[in-house]
């Protein structure tokens, strides 16, 4: 008798605990504050860098000190080498390339993804093309892009565009598939035309996946930047890094990497903000 009661009350405790655990969503770290953990990680990395260079463990040629990198940053910010573009100019040009390509990718990949997710024919046409080129490294088809489009801006933007396009299409397609059939049927039963369902239900319902796709796509865009600026570029962060590596200016190389990294990270933070503004309902229904 006593044991039975014990077990029964244990069970209720257990269910209560289970319920509480469900509410906390322990495997969803997004909801919880990670700022301090992340800051500590970055601080530890910087400290390790500073110690290893100031104690002379690593030669400055391989890893210059944080101070030297910061000096390179300050030096090239406005002036730098006479006759060479400033850091601000390089950054502006690279930003324009990455965002130009990114915007073009959004304008084209979202409609293509919607078409692929909703039409068998569109899926049949685009699927082999995208799946073929998607895993190729951009450096592999860079020569082809240059042969076809020349060495101007078009080739650079095309290369970044191609890198952004595929993940965004795939994300949009996944978004279309994630829209519950009940929502689509409900709209049809309220008298919606096919076009209205596409615009008011499928596009809206795909937004969480599309925004995730945008985050991935812009990441690929930054990754491809250096490759895009390898040939016949006078300005751009990628070009700056490549040029510096030819002159063994490791400080400028690291500075350029940090600038690219910080910009990409800042943009990702913006995208996360955008996500909470545009799709606050994500995962809640």
């Amino acid at each position: 008798m006593g044991t039975t009661m014990q077990t029964a009350s244990d069970n209720t405790t257990r269910t209560r605990q289970a319920r509480r655990r469900q509410q906390y969503r322990p495997f969803a770290p997004q909801g919880r504050e990670t700022f301090f953990i992340s800051t500590a990680t970055v601080a530890a990395m910087l400290l390790l860098w500073w110690i290893s260079t100031s104690l002379g463990w690593i030669k400055p040629l391989f890893l210059p000190s944080p101070a030297a990198v910061f000096a390179a940053f300050k030096h090239s910010l406005m002036g730098g080498v006479p006759g060479q573009p400033t850091l601000i100019e390089n950054t502006t040009v690279s930003l324009a390339r990455v965002f130009g390509a990114f915007l073009l990718a959004i304008l084209t990949a979202v409609p293509v993804g919607l078409a692929m997710g909703t039409s068998r024919i569109a899926n049949g046409i685009f699927d082999p093309l995208i799946e073929f080129y998607r895993p190729l490294p951009p450096l592999a088809y860079l020569p082809l892009v240059i042969i076809w489009l020349g060495i101007g801006e078009t080739a650079k933007i095309t290369l970044i565009y191609l890198a952004c396009f595929a993940p965004l299409v795939i994300a949009t397609k996944a978004g279309v598939r994630s829209v519950p059939v009940e929502q689509i049927n409900a709209a049809f039963s309220l008298g919606a035309s096919r076009w209205q369902v596409l615009r008011h239900v499928i596009l809206r319902g795909s937004m969480p996946e599309i925004i995730t796709g945008m985050r991935i796509a812009i990441g690929f865009g930054w990754t491809t930047l250096v490759a895009a600026e390898m040939v016949a570029a006078n300005t751009g962060l990628g070009q700056m890094v490549l040029k510096a590596s030819n002159f063994l200016r490791t400080d400028v190389v690291i500075m350029g990497i940090v600038v690219i990294g910080v910009m990409a990270f800042a943009f990702d933070l913006m995208m996360r903000k955008l996500e909470t503004l545009l799709v606050p309902w994500k995962g809640k229904m």
Binding site: P180, E182, Q183, N185, A186, A187, F188, S189, L190, G191, A192, S193, Q196, H200, V201, R204, G205, M207, V279, P280, W281, K284, M285
Partner: protein
Amino acid sequence: MLDIDHLTIEYTSPKAPPTVALQDVDLHIGVGEFVVALGASGCGKTTLLNAIAGFIPPTRGTIALGGEPVIGPGRERGVVFQKHALMPWLSVLENVEFGLMLQGIPLHERRPIAKETLRRVGLAKAANRPVYELSGGMQQRVGVARAITASPEVMLLDEPLGALDAFTRESIQELLLDLWHASDRLFFFITHDVEEALFLATRLIVMAPSPGRIAHEYAPTFSSQFMDRRDARKVKSSAEFIRMREEVLDVVRSISAGEH
């Protein structure tokens, strides 16, 4: 008004032999009836609703509404789903006026209509809340309001109360009877809950599985008793209700035991 003749629906798959979800169903429903389809899962009741809604084409037979054959979904047949059917990116009010928006009715005209419906379903205060923050019962009220705002001739409700607690269920049952009574609409409601079926229906069809078909029909009068006396508990605890509930339960039980 709604005429279903010799309706057979088979699901075909390339590997398995076709499954007969509904076989030779005949059903003729008049204006103002509250039809409830009752049955265990697998008896084809959801298939029947989906066919009337136009989501599934008949394999054989016909469905016609007011003489017009049903081909595909349409505005004259509103649907309330069990779940996942509200648009989470829209507010409660925007969900309710969604059908009017699709028709191109301007904001200043559709907004008052939607607000009035929300008041009728008891959600006037929740108009501007996001739907994903609402409780399950409130979400279903929004679903009902959304369907009815588009002024359909037929309301199709696919187990809308299946996931709700008993108290919420009962209050929405009363709401549905009020909405039904205030219009001459035809309601077609699906449930696996015998008590709910008896309380709501003017016509109760009990369905049997493999192949899906109508096994029994009843004509309960409890909904009109409720409309007169406004006391759901009293209606549901009356001797007549309990007697009929046991009778229908026996039928449902013998159907699942395979005696039909």
